[in-house]
Symmetry: C2
Subunit: 551 residues, 2 copies
Amino acid sequence: MQATSPRMQLGQLPSGLLDALASRSLPSRAIASRLSHGRPTQRRDITVNQLDKSSDHRERVVILGSGWAGYTVARQLNPKKYQAVVVSPRSYFAFTPLLASTSVGTLEFRTALEPVRSRRSNVNYFQGWADVVDFKNKKVTIEESADDPSQGLALSRGNWDEIKSDVKKVALAKKGKTFDLTWDKLIITVGCYSQTFGTPGVKEHALFLKDVGDARKIRNRILLCFETAALPTTTDAMRKNLLNFAIVGGGPTGIEFSAELHDIIKEDLARIYPELMEFYKITVYDVADKVLPMFDEDLGKYAMKTFAREGIKIKTSHHVESLRKGPPGDDNAAKDIQDEYPCWTLRVKEEGDIGVGMVVWSTGLMMNPFAEKALGKIPSTPESGVKYISPGSKMSRSSLQWAVHKEPRTGSVITDDRLHVLLESDDEHGSKQRAIMEDVFALGDCAKIEDTTCPATAQVASQKAEWLAKRLNKGDFDKGGFTWKNMGVMAYIGNWNAIMQGGGGGSVSGRAAWVLWRGAYLTKSVSWRNKVLIPIYWFLNWAFGRDISRF
Amino acid sequence: MQATSPRMQLGQLPSGLLDALASRSLPSRAIASRLSHGRPTQRRDITVNQLDKSSDHRERVVILGSGWAGYTVARQLNPKKYQAVVVSPRSYFAFTPLLASTSVGTLEFRTALEPVRSRRSNVNYFQGWADVVDFKNKKVTIEESADDPSQGLALSRGNWDEIKSDVKKVALAKKGKTFDLTWDKLIITVGCYSQTFGTPGVKEHALFLKDVGDARKIRNRILLCFETAALPTTTDAMRKNLLNFAIVGGGPTGIEFSAELHDIIKEDLARIYPELMEFYKITVYDVADKVLPMFDEDLGKYAMKTFAREGIKIKTSHHVESLRKGPPGDDNAAKDIQDEYPCWTLRVKEEGDIGVGMVVWSTGLMMNPFAEKALGKIPSTPESGVKYISPGSKMSRSSLQWAVHKEPRTGSVITDDRLHVLLESDDEHGSKQRAIMEDVFALGDCAKIEDTTCPATAQVASQKAEWLAKRLNKGDFDKGGFTWKNMGVMAYIGNWNAIMQGGGGGSVSGRAAWVLWRGAYLTKSVSWRNKVLIPIYWFLNWAFGRDISRF
């Protein structure tokens, strides 16, 4: 994953500290308040009416999503000025850069999580999916999803057509319980789905690494593969299949996961299943001719050298065609025994059928169906909060058919450099009309500033979120637009090595970069609870080994 | 749960320390070996042939089960003298006294787990269910179950008939892959199932607290109930149902869980969902006229007073008749809306239908089907290792129809005071013949010493296991039989209070007992990793509150 460089981290630490002090989250303060039994209880709201009552003339900011953009902006809005309401199917924020570590047990899962509801924030929260957005009446309809089985898992669809048919199905399907929520300002941070390019079998059989539920599946799967391979009933051929781990996608996520996988095998499983070491294999596939494209050539070379030494195969210019259950060989035969042989067959154009114990899929993002479903044509624009750019009479404007401006290729929501959502329309003369929704913002992976090319990363999302929260708190949008400070990228490459490239172009690699990598994420981690737990787990797993209990 | 008193714990600590020293598990040793890259790799065996090869004339001890009895005896057998092989569907040992704490997040789940496979033990392990036991040829047939979905969950059946039909079904069903394992000594520690007395709906809808998977289900369920109750689409009536928590069974497990549940609500959820506090309710039901029967009257009274103060209702002499999905009221109506209303209806003879958000069922144990299935009649006894007690010619003896001696009422396997499994038979004159299987032992919840009444507790199981490991290591069974040292019982009763009753009859209650309670379990916990993590989590959750992320 991409991350901000330590420079910025250290710059941020003080504010983080003040933050924590202000919120009584430092041990000393907590202890004091414990002893005095003096911890005030925060009022939170359970019904929309109560929200209205308790808003006392503050503007309500409804935030759709609880990822890097949504969680950050919600926590940084000034509660005296705004009533922040987060609506998300996921009740926690996942610190994505640490997911790869949790997926092999280098860290415990919860060290990468922060609940949206917290004693230490003033954020209101409803668990649900935003469904219909009524821009005219500034109202969003929410379908509650407290018991959503997909919570914690990456969402993926085969392809665009499937998403469109999904959207239709959802539209037709009997709704779960829904409720309406009005906003003064709306912030759209719904994120993206995992991209599978419609590759057959991938969304059914591959594992992703986008949320903590995915990480747990992967951890259990790795240990299950070794446990099954250790059974006397398992043939050597099947052992080769079960312990053949394929990672598809050579971006930071795929690379960091393969490095962490190598670490747990070399440092822990090698001692517990020494007799299985001859069977395991880690391979990273990518269609491009190089992995880690965002790094300079020499850093890329360094990573490749490290991987070669660690025995991780990197296969560029390879095309994955399908993934199916059962071992390679005659499909029918495979169907019969697929249940007793828990392995899969990956078909690679350049290599044919390969038996694998696990495929971790990390080939990037695709548009969230929400954008397709709720952010299309706008029946009528609101009276206020819309700034019409191009000339034309007010009459004609409201009579025009407006639609949210989206990038045709990706479906990303296009915003101006203030992160306002843009509308467009063809007027009666067929010429483009444009408008700015001044109370509706979009950021994170689902959005894009017009004519810019920021990558869809946590770094950009959190910078936008911090910028937007500041502007809203100060009310100084006139001061100028958002500009991305490239803080550089870093990636863990295994065996206590990392590569790091500063925004300025400077680069570090090896053990030093690894220290900076850990330092950066430790500093960036949100709660003091996790700032304490993370180094403790780093130490314990180094001293005693990772926990291999599987449940 | 019942636990051993601190006296014994402290007595044990030194041996635990030496243990750890010997096994290089102390940080200093681990660090040293890390730095010198000098950690020896232990040889483990993946096939039965390899086991045979690597046994080098040691006796093979096959241990069925990885609970208190099996895990303890496996770790304490002298590896120079015996080749220990654990066969269990569960790849880890669960430290059951801490499960209640993990079920509300006072401790993280893994702090209550120890993997059977460990760098620091010489134990071989196969994941599977013991299936057929061939006493004559000293051979057990194992059905592999690495991918068993029930791993981590309490096992329960409606009643005896259902178990018997299960056994028939299993016998008829197409087997998974199986393999044979021969033993020189067999130790049966398969434990018990959860008792439901055939109460309709319980095994489908109730949650148990016997394994870490149960604890995780409970933790998610509690948080889901509050999150759902916080939705504007939830009526107040449904909030009452969702936040009505019923515990069935007033033994230590049920009582400790209700206390932990009270703690997380009062200490954490009250701050996060203050507006829901008017709705929640905790009730413990028991058919008996008192709870915690194993404690003296004054300790029981103290516990009741504490619970009354904490607002936990104790309803003795109450009879639970059924549990079904959906809210109370007309059954058909309930069926229609049961999906959108995730609550249950508990029918209590004395109270009628009650809407509940969660039922935790803890009414004791019932026999493991394995005893019914594999430990019945014995086609023919082995040549050696059987000691015939009552008179009669050897001829007639081997021609007799022998069966494992079991308690008719409970189905427990009966052993002598050396923990040897007993056989019985009717000879031609209709008089009882008895025999001792000198190489087959049974202990833990599935076994019982003839004419004794030790409770089925972790304390008894681990004392038997330690005794048996010592005898086997020293070979001095002639030195006398096992006698249980009652180390007393203790129970956490919430709000930093506990009750404790020494084996001698002395008793402690309140904060002091709570300190001893924590001290005892911290001392008793197995690995140094957990000895470090447990107090850290105790502190962090006290200072920052329990983590409420749900995934």
